[in-house]
Structure formats: structure tokens, C-alpha cells
Amino acid sequence: MKTPIEEFAELARTRPTVLREAHKEGAKVVCYVGNYAPTELIYAAGAKPYPMWRGGEPEPPDASLEETLRFLNPLHRTAIGLHMMGLDPVSSFADLVVVSITDCHIARIAEVFEDRGLPTCKLGVPSEWQSASDFAYYKNKVELFKAKLEEITGNKITDEAILEQIEASNKVRAALRKIDELRKLPVPPIDGTTFIKLNHYATQCEPAEAVESLERIYSWLLEQVDENATSDKPRVMLIGRAVGIGDYVVTTALEKSDAVIVTEMLDEAFFRFQKDVEVEGDPSDNLCKNLYIDSVPIDNFQPSWGLRYDIAKEKMAEYNVDGVLWYQLLYDEIYDMEYCCYAKKASRDGILFTNVQTSYEYTREAMGPLMTKLETMVEAFKGGKY
């Protein structure tokens, strides 16, 4: 018999087929890259969203080299490569691909997609997130995206429809938060890799399906909680740009090395669930505010590094974290720089902090150093004891 988690995984796995069928029957499908295009607007237009967040396989980044530079991170090269190889399950029939342009890596995806004739909407996300003018710019871009959605679907997006979708997505957020709370227990009933997968499944499914699945998973997890249990496994916080859908090698290896990821701070390829979208006031504005101002500022927002470090420290205390793993995508230079700053601050603050870099090449030769690093990290987090 399948567990509720396996059932949810199956639902997510079959979603592209469902979308293909829906598309044949006239539904519009909108793929999205990045995290700043509100999916609530897509649903409110009567279309179906699907994330292009895959990662973890070496072939797609390699395939992308015909169209792009090697010096792009593997997550974004994967989006390009999968499309070029004809292996992206949805983008080949998508009516629109919206790309949230937060930096030069992700911008390149939009350029390549446009060049290859995909209907592409560039949604500019300026970096000075605390300035009124940048927020206005972002809101304007979201309005243009909204107009594009109305154009392709032929449906007017009403405030009522947006509000309905906000309420639906807030239920997903609440369901994820409930499960996330369980991770604060001394022995969490769910590991970090599985939690990240649940987050990914939630973005692939309809909100109502996701809520139903997550509620069942929560009840199932509650049954497994032993409040008296203790564990000496180090509790790890994961920080990085993204763990792509399917990119679970490092997190799995870490957790198999006797640690548990209890919280994470990921900028992309992750549904942000910590704060609900407000329901009072203009719904479009509320969506923008939630994504742009109320969420943890991403690495290349200005200013952000100091604040992000403080937020990470708060989370470390909240989740009783023993150490931090910085998950670095190869050639993702902004994150590399932020890591250096974090490492210095963490050293001063006595926080155990290390990084692992991935190019998505998990060959035998690559796994050796990776496992050494992860296993040593776990031992160091335990206090160097053996």
C-alpha cells in the first residue's frame, strides 16, 4: 500500500500528462521559471501553471552548451537543455513561458527561449526591493504579465478570481507550515529531502489537490511522532539558490550520512509558504507585496546579505540547528560571493558552516569528494567525536 507521500508523488509525476490532455481540450498552459510570477494570476485567468524547476541530471546542462555559455549555473542550463532535448514534459506545448528575471543566469533562459520561438514573457524583477520605484517597476511587470494572460486565455482576470486563488494558495501555505512545524521536534517525522519534495509536488499539482494530499500527509506524520524520542543526529539548515525538482542527490547523501535537514532558505524552485498573501485590499498588489517585499529577499536583492544572515540565524535558533550546509550551484557567482561573507560572519559567531558545490555530475569520481565532505561535516557537527 502506498504511503500518502508516495500518492502525492504519483499525482505530481502524472501532472504533465494531465496538462497535456487539458491542453488538447483547450486549456491554456503557462510554464514558469523563477519565483516571481504569481501562479494565482495564472489560475485566475483559467490557465494551468507548471514550474520549470528541474535539476540534478548532467545531460541537460551539457545539451544547453549549443545555445549558452558554460558559465551559467546548472539549474538554469537544465531548463534550457531539457527544452532543447525535447525532454521537458510541458514546455513543448506551453502557451506561454514566464521567466522571472532576477539575474543574468535566469535572463539567459528567456533569451534562448525567445530565440527558439517559445512564447516567452520576461518578468523583470529589480534588485532594490525596498525602494518604491523598484516595487512599482515590478508591479508594472506583473500587470503586463496579467495582460498577457488575458490575451492568451481570452479571459478577463477579475479581482474576485484572484482573491479566490489567493485563498486557495494560502491553504497550501498553511498545510506546508503545519508539516514544517513538525520539523522542530527533537526527532522530526520527516526528513528535509522529503519536505523539499513535498514542496515541489505542491507546485506541480492544483492547489486543492495539494492541500488534500498535504493534510493527509500531516495526519500520517503525526501518527509517527514520538514526543519522548531523542536523537544525536546533527540538525542541519540548508541554504542556497535552489534544489531543483529531481536534484536530491546531495540532500539525500547528507541525510544518509546521519544528519537531518530541519530547515532551509532557498531562493528559487521552492514554493514560499512562510507568510500568507494578505486578503484585504487590492489582490494584485497583495500578491506582489507577498513575493517581492514580504518574502526573504533573494541573494542578489539590494540590500540583502546582512538581513538574510540575520534571518538565517533566527531560523537556526527556531529549529535548533547544529550547522549549516551552503548548497552552491557551479558558476553561480553571486551565491559564491555571499557564501564567503557568510563564512566569515559564521566563523565570528561560532556557527558551523560548510559548502558543497554541484555541477549535477554525480559520477563515481565526483561522489568521492562529495561524500567525504558531507560525512566530515556531519562528524564535525557532532563535535568531531567518533
Binding site: A343, S347, L352, P369, E375, T376, E379, Y386
Partner: protein, 267 residues
């Protein structure tokens, strides 16, 4: 019956084995062999030779520990441990009180901050040969066509080390070919490559805020180059020493860990 403890370190280039006496205070046998494709076989080969060198039988070895990239492939292991942890324990065996270990192996380099043999923080290279023994080997031994053991004395003769502008092994190779054609001396080239390799390692560690607390010990196959430790000293402005068997600390460390496991299991 006197029990012995064995440690086997199956690295990317060489496999090392040591046999320690019952109290783990003395190395009674050791070996270093080239790592073959079959990592288990490499470990077995190293262990057999170390047992032979110790003049004991395999049955006298109470517990065997395995470390290095091939540790999981070594079927005879009673305990496995990642090599960074073993380096901490093993280097403390050779150099009590060590605070920083710079270990440069064939495939990777590591800088480890430790206290009483316990690893506190560490950094190691990722996805790049620059700053590893392989970088030095490819650029010096192969290009200059001089045996590895002669590169150290040669580097010590340098008066004006060359400056490599690239950290990429491939581009640096072209740069060196060009320098050779311009008449740069092999001694200056050799010292320049050594400095380039070591600067890369220092940068890597400093990016992660490692402080190079003293005493600093250089280990790994790279430490066999007699100019390596003194070059690190020049670059860091701190005393860097090496040990008698720079390739053995991880094997020694995992042998000590094997004894701890043996004692625990015997209770």
C-alpha cells in the same frame, strides 16, 4: 595474544595501509601502492603489504578501518570514516598539538582546523584540479619531463619564480609551454607552479575564513616535495612543517578509530 590495528586509506592516486601496535602508539608496518580501478583490490594489496612489513599474520589484526574515496568499497573494513576526520586523528599522532593541517593529495586538497585531533572546521577543493597534486604533477613533471622526486630540489634553486596567470590546468599548461619557449628556467617554472598551487589552496581556505592557526603541518603526497612546506611558509608568513610519513596520517587515523571501535565492541 597481542592485537594489532590496521588502517587503510584508499585514495584517488595511491592506497596506503598502516599497522599499529595494540596501544596504537607505534607504526609497526606500512605500505603505499598505486590505486587500481578495483578499489577493494587496491586496499587489499596495501593491507597485505603492510601486514607483511609488520611481520605479522592477518589474523593478528583485530580490527581494520578504511578511509579515503574508496573506503566504502573496501569489504574487509570493520569501520569506515571520512578521511578528513582521520587526517585530524592521524596527524595528531605524528604531530601532537597540531592546529592546522594542509593536506594535498592527488585529487583534492584540504585545509583542516583541528584541536586535540578533532576536526573543528575544514575546506576542500571542488570540481577543479587547480590546487591539487594533480595540477602540480601535470604542469611540472610532465611538461618539464623531470621525475617528481627531483622537482623539490629544483624548485629550491629558483631565483625568480614565474607567475602563472591562469588557475585552469589546461590554460596554465599552454602558458608554461610558452614560458619554456621563451627561455624561462625549469627551476623558476617549477617554483612558480608550486606557488600557484599553494596560493590556490590558501585562497580556498581563506574564503571559508580558516585562519591557519599554528602549528601548521603539511601532509599528503605533495608534502614529499622538499620545497612544498617552505613555499607554504613563505606565502603564509608562518612556520609550516611536515612529518616523516606525510602520506600516512589518514591511514593512521582510521587505525586509531578502529581501535576505539574495537574497545567499544569488546566491552
Amino acid at each position: 595474544m597481542v592485537a594489532y590495528f590496521a588502517g587503510v586509506d584508499i585514495g584517488s592516486t595511491t592506497s596506503k595501509a598502516v599497522i599499529l601496535n595494540e596501544s596504537c602508539t607505534k607504526i609497526v608496518g606500512s605500505s603505499v601502492v598505486d590505486t587500481m580501478f578495483d578499489r577493494n583490490e587496491s586496499g587489499e594489496e596495501a593491507l597485505s603489504r603492510a601486514v607483511e612489513a609488520a611481520g605479522i599474520s592477518r589474523e593478528e589484526v583485530a580490527y581494520v578501518g578504511a578511509t579515503g574515496y574508496g573506503r566504502r568499497s573496501f569489504l574487509a573494513a570493520d569501520v569506515v570514516s571520512p578521511e578528513v576526520i582521520c587526517h585530524g586523528t592521524g596527524t595528531e599522532f605524528f604531530a601532537p598539538g597540531v592546529r592546522t593541517i594542509i593536506d594535498v593529495g592527488g585529487q583534492d586538497s584540504k585545509v583542516i582546523e583541528c584541536r586535540n585531533g578533532s576536526v573543528e572546521r575544514f575546506e576542500m577543493n571542488d570540481k577543479c584540479a587547480a590546487g591539487t597534486g594533480r595540477f602540480f604533477e601535470v604542469l611540472s613533471s610532465r611538461l618539464l619531463k623531470i621525475p617528481m622526486e627531483e622537482l623539490g630540489p629544483l624548485a629550491l634553486q629558483s631565483t625568480d619564480p614565474i607567475r602563472l596567470s591562469s588557475v585552469c590546468t589546461i590554460f596554465a599548461e599552454s602558458e608554461i609551454v610558452s614560458l619554456l619557449s621563451q627561455g624561462s628556467s625549469p627551476a623558476d617554472i617549477c617554483k612558480g607552479i608550486l606557488m600557484s598551487t599553494e596560493k590556490r589552496i590558501i585562497q580556498l581556505a581563506r574564503q571559508s575564513s580558516l585562519e591557519f592557526y599554528e602549528p601548521i603541518v603539511l601532509t599528503g603526497g605533495f608534502a614529499r616535495n622538499c620545497a612544498a612546506a617552505s613555499t607554504f611558509s613563505e606565502l603564509l608568513g608562518k612556520e609550516v612543517s611536515t612529518i616523516d610519513y606525510p602520506q600516512l596520517p589518514a591511514a593512521v587515523g582510521v587505525a586509531v578509530i578502529a581501535k576505539h571501535k574495537y574497545d567499544k565492541d569488546s566491552r
